[in-house]
Structure formats: structure tokens, C-alpha cells
Amino acid sequence: MAGTRKILSRIRSAKNISQITKAMEMVSASKMKKAQEAALNGQPYSIHLRQIISSLLALNKSVNHPLINEVVKFELKTNLCICVTTNKGLCGGLNTNHFRMINRWLKENPDTDFITIGKKGRMFLAAIGVNIIADFSDLPENIYFEQTLTISRYIQELFRGKQYQKIYLSFNHFISTLAQKPKLVQILPIDPHSLKDEDLGLLKELDEEQEQKFQTKEYIIEPNAKTIIHWLLPYFVELQLYHFLLENKASEHSARMVAMKNASQNAQDVMKQLRLVYNKMRQQQITMELADIITATSSIQ
């Protein structure tokens, strides 16, 4: 009976695994709900802020701000990329896809320094040997806006200090529970055109017509455009970073939930197959024993 015992123990371990993954699925599902809510609830705010900034900038082309300055006065080649990943694994291909994108991007922009948010990204980037200037992996599970200020102020300082030509952020864009897509966006300098980036799914409604009216009609701006722009742009950078972090969290938990669901399903399948093999073996044995008995009795007669 050595064979059947082995199979029984394999069934047991598959069952244990399925219990663990089931529990993890449940945990992720509840975290996912919260994270998705946070990410989606913030979207209208973000959309309106973008709308306002893009129309303000369109109205006041003369206003200059260090964060929108597209003219690079210094010979700068270095870029900075903030790589937002998860702290933990077991979330399917989420990080792998992200790293593939970064690898591709690095081929075109080899002169890039990194800031990492998330242990997985830190490990990956350290392994491929790029320059990591800072790491903010110790953000808590529930992110507050204020906690992200340290990071966003730091990058603004770096940018104003003319240390980098462009600052990007790579993260996992949340599309739905089943779909997440790694994405790389430029956060500094603020590109007025990219504010209308439809790909981000944020600004579909802003039509050209409205934009034109914005420009021609008189628009009261209090206290004045310059003050407002100077006040809004840093805030915008801060808010954007915060939203991307939230979105990444939503992606992470969604991906993990789906991965765990698949794992539970697989464990169930394995159990089913093993059970079948076990039953076959058991029946075979019974048949053999029966045959034995029958041959034994018939030989006595």
C-alpha cells in the first residue's frame, strides 16, 4: 500500500495549500475593495485638477514656472525614474511585467537614476545594477497624503536643483480587477499637453470647443493667475504622486487576489486528479485481492 499512502499525503498537502491560498485570497479581496475605492474615489478630484491646470496654463502662456520649464538650459542627460512596486510577492505577473517594461525603457534611456518605492523594485533594480538614489519602501499599508509629501517634495527639490532633466514615475495602472498595465509617466517637468493624455483615462470629456471658449472669453482669476499657478503646480505634483501610489496599491491587491484565486483553483484541480488516481489504485488492489482469493479457493476445490 506504499503507493496509495504517498498519494494520500500528496492530496493532504494540496489541500493545505488550497486552504492557505483561499485565506490569502479572502484577505486580498477585502484589501482590494478598500484600495480600489480609495483609488477610484480620488479620480474625479484628479480629473478636475488636471482640467483646471491645463486651462489655466493655456490661458496664461506667459507665466513661467520652474516646474513647467521645458527649455533645458543646462546640458543634462540624466533622468530620474521613481519605480513604484509592491513590497510583497505572490501577485502573479504584476511585478514581472513592470520590470520587463523598465528593462525595455532602460535600453533607450540608459542614463537613468532610480528612486524605489517597494521592496520588489528595489531588489530588481539593485540586481541589474542601476543607480538607486533613494528608497521609500517603508510606507505603511494605508497611505496618507501627508506621508507622500516627503517624496514629492524631495523630487521637486532635485528637479529645481537642476539635477535631472526629466523625472518619470513607473507604476501599475489599474484598469480593472482583472487587468493591470505597467505604465511610465512623466511627472516633471509638467507637460501641459500630457495633461490631456487620454490614455490615462482621465480627461476624455474635455473637448476642444470648451478649451477654445476658455481662451477667448474673459475669465476672472483671483487673486491672480501667477499666484494660483505657483500655488497649484507643486500641489499637483504632490497629488499626482499620491494618486499613482493609491492606484498601484489597487493594482497590487487586485493582482494578488486573482493570483490566489487561480492558485486555489489549481490546488483543487490537483486534488481532484490525485483523488482519481488514488481511487483507481485502490480498486485495482481490491480486484487483485479478490482474484487472489478466488484462485486460492478454486485451487483447494
Binding site: A38, N41, G42, P44, Y45, H48, L49, I52, L56, Y144, F145, E146, Q147, L149, T150, Q210, K213, F214, K217, E218, Y219, I220, I221, E222, P223, I228, W231, L239, Y242
Partner: protein, 142 residues
């Protein structure tokens, strides 16, 4: 001629209020209090902390906002973006006082805190003071 304003009050944590039949809005703009009627010129302004008065079908409702701005566009959409917004009658004096105390407590041990934590606590105190003022006022008028 427009008869109504389409109002939405939005915070980073969600949409607090939307209504497309608003008759007038009174808000504490940075340059002084303003009232916006349906045919107001497009305006964009920073808002001070305080209370917004919204008039719908002759009835007034009040919202307490903290840090934000107001945008009234050509189409008659009025958007108020605020860090925090809630109905004034939902303000809970005890909860506010508690929040204020917690923040003050945190600030009393300043050396233990990081810069962001200090910022957070200070903002909390300022918000609590403002909310308390409004909550007290509400209590008298109602």
C-alpha cells in the same frame, strides 16, 4: 440665460455633493466673500477655510470646507475642490474636540515626530478650530 448652476463638491476621498438645480452659492473666496448666481462670469478662485452656502429651491444648506478652490466655467458647472468638505450640520463637536486634543497631544512631544507628522498635527488643529467655530454658530442659529 441659465437658471441653475450645476454644483459639485469634490474632495480627494470622493464626491461629497452634486446637484444641478442650484440657485446661488456663497463662498469665502481668498479676496473676500463671493456670491455666484447662474450667469456669473467664469471665475477661478482660491477659497479660504470656512463655510459655503448653497441655495436649492429656496432652501439653504451649508458645507464646511477646508483648503480648496472654486472653478465656475462657461457651461455653468461650478466645481469646488477641497481637501475636506462635509455638511455643516454633520459636524460633531465632541469628535472635533477629540481630534484637536489628539493633535495637541502629539505636538506636545514634538521632538519625537517627523516633519510630516508635525505638519499633519498642525493642520488637524487648524481644521478643528475652524470647524468648532462653525459648529458653535450652527448650534445657535438652528
Amino acid at each position: 440665460m441659465r437658471k441653475f448652476i450645476k454644483l459639485s463638491i469634490i474632495t480627494p476621498t470622493g464626491t461629497t455633493f452634486t446637484n444641478s438645480n442650484v440657485e446661488s452659492i456663497n463662498a469665502p473666496a481668498s479676496e473676500g466673500e463671493i456670491t455666484i448666481l447662474p450667469n456669473h462670469t467664469p471665475i477661478f478662485t482660491k477659497l479660504n477655510h470656512g463655510e459655503i452656502k448653497v441655495k436649492i429651491e429656496g432652501k439653504e444648506s451649508f458645507f464646511t470646507i477646508f483648503q480648496g478652490f472654486l472653478n465656475f466655467d462657461i457651461k455653468g458647472n461650478l466645481t469646488i475642490l477641497a481637501d475636506n468638505a462635509q455638511r455643516s450640520e454633520e459636524l460633531n463637536i465632541e469628535a472635533i474636540k477629540k481630534a484637536q486634543e489628539a493633535a495637541a497631544q502629539a505636538l506636545s512631544e514634538k521632538e519625537k515626530l517627523s516633519a510630516t507628522e508635525i505638519l499633519r498635527a498642525e493642520t488637524a488643529i487648524r481644521r478643528a478650530i475652524m470647524e468648532l467655530k462653525i459648529a458653535e454658530k450652527r448650534k445657535i442659529t438652528h
